[in-house]
């Protein structure tokens, strides 16, 4: 078994690391402080082609696969969780849904500009009554000739404040539930009836846009149905599965950064006559965090390989998200503790990482949902159905 990355992936990582160090890291603190999306950095990323890292070259992408996308998310997550989140929502669930289930025409029209970073994407699923219970959405789409008329709304939509294209889930048959009753639509955000209602004030990832959307007689051409009518649930589950792997990769990056900071500080800071590195309590924290990062790294890149070789990956992708989010939280918590007062001060990056990390256990499917996904797949192998 050869665990090394291909020369192409090694070169890709080097390129991304340079970009992350030179263009992203310098703005991380200010976008958090100013509560703004780094649009210029996102556009620059678009120009490098990285916003299409995993999409085929024929659709404007780089063709570097899920492994390449994980590398991007890891390197961005290492310097700025907000930037990684913007990118993740754009590629991983926004554009990805179109890549997975779009017609050739839809891919040409929408995926290509998204892959090239000429336009930005979002994914509209969550509603006030449909968080973990994603199928419990109420947004309604009614057929009217060649169009569908959508009424309703969404909450907590990442990138929603600036996306050009959004994949929206709506109920097309209220008599059916998840199976057969929900349809995915590709919506252009400048169409009449689409409104961004408010921007959320979040504890962390403050360099992202998280919004409430309102649809008031939003008309969508039938040609913008993504996948088949009534099969939206399948589309969104597939997109979320993919998104879980790459969120795990972003968490890996964040955890690694926290470990690096911890080690460096422990060698510099002296108390009680010696460096913190000489204290067993600090050594134990660092050893435990380093071990988990090692395990997470192997998990994430093995699952990326499974996706790239067309193996089933839903259960293990959920594990990447579950374990990744918890490892990142533990790594950052340890870094905060090791840095003492500096870890609690907004003049240093650790407290921002602490605030940023917390959302990973909640969005993209809470860790409780991830556990249900994992457990239900394991029990299904024994013929037992488990429901949430």
């Amino acid at each position: 078994m050869d665990f090394s990355f291909s020369p192409e992936h090694v070169a890709l990582r080097r390129m991304i690391r340079d970009f992350a160090t030179n263009e992203v890291a310098p703005i991380a603190a200010e976008i958090d402080r100013e509560h703004r999306v780094p649009m210029d950095v996102l556009r620059e990323l678009g120009e490098t082609g990285l916003l299409g890292v995993c999409f085929p070259q024929e659709y404007g992408g780089m063709g570097a696969g899920e492994t390449g996308y994980c590398i991007l998310m890891e390197e961005l997550g290492r310097v700025c969780t907000s930037t990684a989140t913007n990118v993740g929502a754009h590629i991983g669930i926004g554009a990805m849904a179109i890549h997975l289930d779009g017609t050739e025409e839809q891919r040409r029209k929408y995926l290509v500009p998204l892959a090239r970073g000429e336009k930005f994407a979002a994914f509209g699923l969550t509603e006030s009554n449909a968080g973990s219970d994603a199928a419990n959405i109420n947004t309604r789409a009614v057929r009217d000739g060649d169009e569908w008329v959508i009424n309703g709304g969404k909450i907590y939509i990442t990138n929603g404040g600036y996306a050009d294209v959004i994949t929206i889930m709506a109920v097309t048959d209220p008599t059916l539930g998840a199976r057969g009753g929900i349809t995915a639509f590709i919506v252009e955000t400048d169409w009449p009836g689409y409104e961004v209602a408010r921007e959320e004030d979040k504890m962390g990832i403050r360099g992202t846009s998280t919004v409430e959307l309102v649809f008031d007689n939003l008309r969508v051409p039938h040609g913008n149905v993504l996948g088949k009518v009534g099969e939206g649930f399948v589309t969104f589950m597939k997109s979320l599965d993919m998104g879980r792997l790459t969120l795990g990769a972003a968490c890996l990056g964040g955890a690694q950064a926290a470990l690096d900071w911890s080690i460096e500080w422990a060698t510099k800071r002296e108390q009680f006559g010696s460096q913190l590195a000489q204290k067993q309590s600090v050594q134990w924290m660092i050893a435990d965090v380093a071990t988990e990062i090692e395990a997470l790294r192997s998990l994430v890149y093995r699952v990326a390989w499974m996706v790239d070789t067309d193996q089933p990956f839903s259960r293990v992708a959920a594990m990447c998200k579950l374990y990744g989010s918890e490892v990142a939280s533990r790594a950052i918590d340890a870094a905060l503790q090791i840095h003492g007062g500096l870890g609690y001060s907004r003049d240093y990056p650790i407290e921002r990482a602490f605030r940023d990390a917390r959302i990973a256990e909640i969005f993209e499917g809470t860790n409780e949902i991830q556990r249900i996904v994992i457990a239900s797949r394991l029990f299904r192998e024994h013929g037992v159905r488990v429901s949430p």
Binding site: S132, K202, E270, R346, E351, F363, E368
Partner: protein
């Protein structure tokens, strides 16, 4: 053994909770957002006698026992943990140090203004190179006739600057003098004492934490608290009181988080039922409730022990380390119960989570307290731990 609170203590608790609900709750979110010093609330608290909570009536204090004071801290922390830290510093670290170690003249001069809230106590111990380790300080106090000249830098001074409209500060400053670490009472505005940078923090955003500079700061010998070299003892007793105080603060933030999130879980319907019906949620709630219950007994018992005049060499670090863990665990679980709402700053859990995180650092990091506990345990085996 009767573990119940006295009727008077229950009455006090009820009064404290009313104050918290009526005066603090409506302002807590905005206060955290604006990061202002809550002067309006402190003025009202002063009128209720809270700023002189444990001080004798002779000095215009409310003469509360420490356990009642802990109930006050807990009640305040339910709505605003910052207030519990500000009050804890003022009463427990500063005012009670003067009460325990001061001369009659010092008590008569300093305690009434502190009790009235006309002056606020600030604790100046930490230095850039003295965080966990305060056994060697660089701040120096040199005797010069009737005065001491103090030079040094102190960081993370809670209540360091209450603002232009606020009460002046009385700094309890620890400095190295000829006979060892010594405590001094330095009023704000003393020439040679400059209040500097306010630390922007993850949580506790309404506690003004400042850096202060002492440059040729002349202080009359009459402002020395206790004897030269008595500083470590004064600090140990003060920090012991603060450990119990922070324990009460942890109880407040944890129990209020549990209340908010369980209310949410009983109303939030997903998959056809309130999420309170999900076993995973029940597990988080159960673990939280159990930890809070255990912490409550630990804190109240430690407070009672202080009222009996006991030293808490073992119990203070036990309370502190356990309180930090409970506050972290419970706020973390309850953020998770609230899902996305737990991450939004227009709901209370996000700030409770940020505030609670301070507890494993403020008042000494958990790791140092654990060594103190281990020292007590190993002493029973006749082993002396070398730090």
């Amino acid at each position: 053994m009767d573990f119940s609170l006295s009727e008077e203590q229950r009455m006090f608790r009820s009064m404290f909770e009313d104050f918290s609900t009526n005066e603090i709750a409506p302002l807590a979110e905005e206060l955290d957002h604006e990061e202002t010093v809550p002067l309006g609330i402190l003025e009202k608290a002063a009128r209720q006698g809270f700023l002189g909570a444990t001080l004798p009536e002779a000095y215009f204090g409310a003469d509360l026992d420490f356990l009642s004071y802990a109930l006050l801290i807990e009640a305040l922390a339910k709505e605003c943990m910052s207030l519990s830290v500000t009050l804890g510093t003022h009463v427990g670290l500063v005012a009670m140090s003067v009460l325990r170690h001061g001369t009659d003249a010092q008590m008569e001069e300093i305690l009434p203004p502190l009790a009235a809230g006309e002056a606020v106590g600030a604790y100046a111990m930490t230095e850039p190179d003295a965080g966990s380790d305060t056994t060697r300080l660089e701040t120096r106090a040199v005797r010069d006739g009737d005065e001491y000249v103090i030079d040094g830098v102190k960081t993370w001074v809670a209540n360091g600057d209450m603002g232009a409209e606020g009460p002046s500060a009385v700094f309890l400053v620890f400095a190295q003098a000829a006979d060892g670490i010594t405590a001094f009472l330095v009023p704000g505005g003393t020439p040679g004492l400059t209040v500097g940078y306010r630390e922007p923090t993850l949580g506790l955003r309404n506690v003004p934490f400042h850096t202060i500079y002492l440059e040729g700061c002349r202080v009359p010998a009459g402002k020395r608290l206790g004897a030269e070299g008595e500083g470590p003892e004064i600090a140990a007793r003060a920090e012991e009181r603060m450990a119990v105080t922070l324990g009460a603060g942890a109880l407040g933030v944890a129990s209020s988080s549990l209340d908010v999130a369980t209310q949410f879980a009983s109303e939030r319907v997903q998959f056809g039922v309130p999420i309170a019906q999900k076993q995973a949620i029940q597990a988080y709630v159960a673990r939280s409730a159990a930890e809070i219950e255990a912490l409550r007994h630990l804190v109240y018992h430690a407070a009672w022990q202080l009222d009996q005049g006991a030293r808490l060499d073992f119990h203070a670090p036990v309370v502190k380390t356990f309180a930090a863990r409970v506050a972290r665990d419970v706020t973390d679980y309850m953020v998770q119960v609230m899902g996305g709402y737990g991450y939004m700053e227009d709901y209370p859990l996000a700030r409770k989570y940020r505030d609670a995180r301070a507890l494993s650092l403020i008042g000494g990091p958990t790791e140092v307290h654990e060594v103190r506990i281990a020292e007590q345990v190993f002493a029973e085996c006749d082993v002396e731990i070398v730090p």
